[in-house]
């Protein structure tokens, strides 16, 4: 960028256009006098008609045009646009005294300044000032224009890069989806035929052969889980994972996956047992994600068990707001420094930016992410020679416990972020659970959606650094989604209820959600959609 305004200049070209030849001479003379004392090479070109001046305008990068006002049949102002088309030189209008009223019009047409001829003849220093001032203004304007152009260019470049980045993420994600799809077919064939043989459909099988077949089936199963883990990771990173948290009894969470876990343990063989105390309160979780975390923890425990070890799944209350799901193994255990190391790896950082499989397996990495999505945290305890216990928490299914877990999540964010609360209102009589569901569909995986206490609107809690931008994004996303589904008229308005630092959020949210300190099941306020 060339910031010429501050530089002293060595040469100057002035173009005078006046139909009166006498005036040309006196103005020229005034110019000579005005710049006489300065080390400037002054070139003056004179023309008696604007058309000629326009055609023969000298080429000079520091040039000023002095343009008379009165011409036969036209005014200088009429010619300004023509001059501006061919040259960027500032134009100063020369007027006779009494014509000052044209000043405003001259500026509007694009003139840089105007002077009264008799004034400059009397005071060359005034002429010098006007010329210098016009040049300075002109240079500044040019600099501004250049800056604006550069800014525009930089912006365009940035949005192009952004687009490219989005495209790359999409491509990477599509690739993983395709690979996963391609893996599943051969995996199915391997597992299915091994189990067909094992079931004796092709003829009698010896016990030894059955044992070997169980290894094939088990390994194919491990590979299938790995494919699922890769898919989950990819979806998390592309923010494509859909989170549907609901109130669910722990028993209902475990029962559907228990046969799978039992079969997996049997292939080791290891004994898998469980303890779910009577009266264990319900949790607030996305069942798929919680089940994936449990499956991965049990598979991990099986991996480090020796035959006939016991693996124990245990459910325990952890303080007033949390339920802890623990998986104990009788494996070799880990030395304290490894526990510390693993613990840090396991706990630290923003879940979606953590490294994949960074030294401790994709499976555990997924546990961490799935726990985080359910507003929970992971923990490890281990003693050498006795075994390890991996666990994660889930919030209990009441509003107080849920917001407590949400704020804890906001606090663990590596950069300081604010807890931001939005409320969504639909124009028509929209069922509140429907509205809550729609809101959760446009939310990010870690956002939290809840019906408001009055059940007239829905609330969305996010962890952001720019509440206004967050509000705008959500509003745009939900209305775009509705328009795409053929509901363009029924717009949803999103209001910003407030934003607080995590340290101050609890009190504010308790007020907003009308929560008191009790932890009994206030489940009516928790959405139970699926």
């Amino acid at each position: 960028m060339n910031l010429r305004s501050s530089e002293p200049f060595r040469s100057l070209s002035v173009v005078i256009i006046d139909d009166d030849e006498d005036h040309l001479v006196v103005v020229h003379d005034a110019l000579e006098r005005a710049f006489a004392g300065e080390q400037i090479k002054l070139t003056v070109s004179s023309f008696t008609h604007p058309a000629v001046g326009l055609a023969e305008l000298p080429d000079h990068d520091r040039q000023v045009i002095l343009l008379d006002y009165q011409f036969p049949g036209s005014t200088g102002l009429d010619w300004i646009p023509d001059f501006m088309r061919v040259s960027s030189a500032p134009i100063i209008i020369l007027t006779s005294s009494g014509d000052e009223h044209i000043a405003a019009e001259a500026f509007r047409e694009g003139a840089s300044d105007y002077v009264v001829k008799s004034d400059i003849i009397e005071s060359p220093s005034m002429l010098r000032r006007v010329v210098r001032e016009s040049l300075r203004k002109h240079t500044l304007e040019q600099t501004n224009r250049e800056l604006a152009r550069e800014l525009k260019r930089a912006n365009a470049e940035l949005s192009q890069k952004n687009e490219r980045l989005t495209e790359l993420t999409d491509t990477a994600h599509r690739f993983v989806e395709n690979v996963a799809h391609e893996f599943r077919t051969p995996l199915t064939v391997i597992r299915e035929f091994a189990s067909i043989i094992n079931d004796g459909i092709g003829g009698e099988v010896t016990p030894k052969q059955q044992e070997y077949l169980a290894h094939i089936v088990g390994s194919a199963g491990d590979l299938a889980e790995l494919v699922n883990d890769f898919l989950n990771c990819s979806r998390l990173r592309s923010n494509l994972i859909r989170v549907q948290r609901e109130r669910i009894a722990v028993e209902e969470l475990i029962s559907p996956i228990w046969p799978i876990l039992q079969a997996r343990a049997a292939s080791k063989p290891a004994r898998l047992t469980r303890t779910i105390p009577q009266g264990t309160p319900a949790v607030f979780a996305d069942p798929d994600k919680a089940q994936r975390a449990i499956i991965n923890l049990v598979i991990n425990a099986i991996k480090y068990s020796t035959p006939d070890d016991e693996i124990h799944l245990e459910i325990a209350q952890d303080g007033p707001h949390l339920i802890r799901i623990l998986v104990r193994d009788q494996g070799p255990g880990l030395p304290p420094e490894s526990v510390q190391h693993l613990f840090e790896r396991f706990r630290q950082g923003e879940p979606t930016s953590g490294h994949l499989a960074d030294g401790f397996g994709l499976g555990l990495s997924i546990v961490k992410e799935m726990a985080a999505i359910n507003l929970g945290q992971v923990d490890i305890e281990s003693t050498i020679g006795e075994g390890s216990t991996f666990s994660f928490t889930l919030p209990r299914a009441n509003t107080r416990s849920i917001i407590d877990a949400f704020i804890k999540r906001a606090k663990s964010h590596p950069e300081s972020r604010q807890v931001t609360v939005l409320s969504a209102h639909a124009c028509d009589a929209h069922p509140i659970d429907e509205l809550t569901r729609e809101l959760s569909e446009v939310a990010m995986p870690f956002d939290l959606t809840l019906p408001a206490p009055d059940r007239h609107h829905a609330m969305l809690l996010g962890i952001t650094n720019d509440a206004a931008q967050y509000r705008a994004r959500v509003e745009q996303a939900i209305n775009e989604k509705r328009a795409a589904h053929g509901n363009p008229d029924d717009q949803i308005s999103i209001e910003l209820q407030g934003h607080w630092s995590p340290d101050h959020a609890l009190e504010a949210l308790q007020d907003l959600l009308e929560v008191h300190n009790e932890t009994e099941e206030t489940d009516a306020t928790v959405s139970t959609h699926r």
Binding site: R184, L187, T188, V189, E192, I196, I201, A220, A224, L231
Partner: protein, 126 residues
Amino acid sequence: MPQSVLIVDDEPRITAALMTRLEASGYTVYHAINGLAGIEAAALYEPDAIILDIRLPDIDGYETCQRLRRFPTLQATPVIFLTANVQDEAIERAKGAGGSRFITKPYEACDILRAIEELTSLRNAA
């Protein structure tokens, strides 16, 4: 009379695995390697249940299912979608196209057998 199942899948090994399993359980099994052949076979044999893949070389599983449902004789035939696609969107589309069940690969053989049993007995009861 033994019950019959039609498999519409372009993966010969998957078809072989399914056929082995189903025949061992006493079913008569037909198979077709693309959507249009599947429709023809379904209209001809009127199977008790159909197992349908989504990715097929000609028309996809959704369309195959929609077209099947236009035959009065096939309107109530149980159609089990069997696919490696696990996205929610695929499940929704399968339902919308007239699918009765959705099972993902890798599948457990017992899930398929149970689904066929449940769906056919439901139909017979109706």
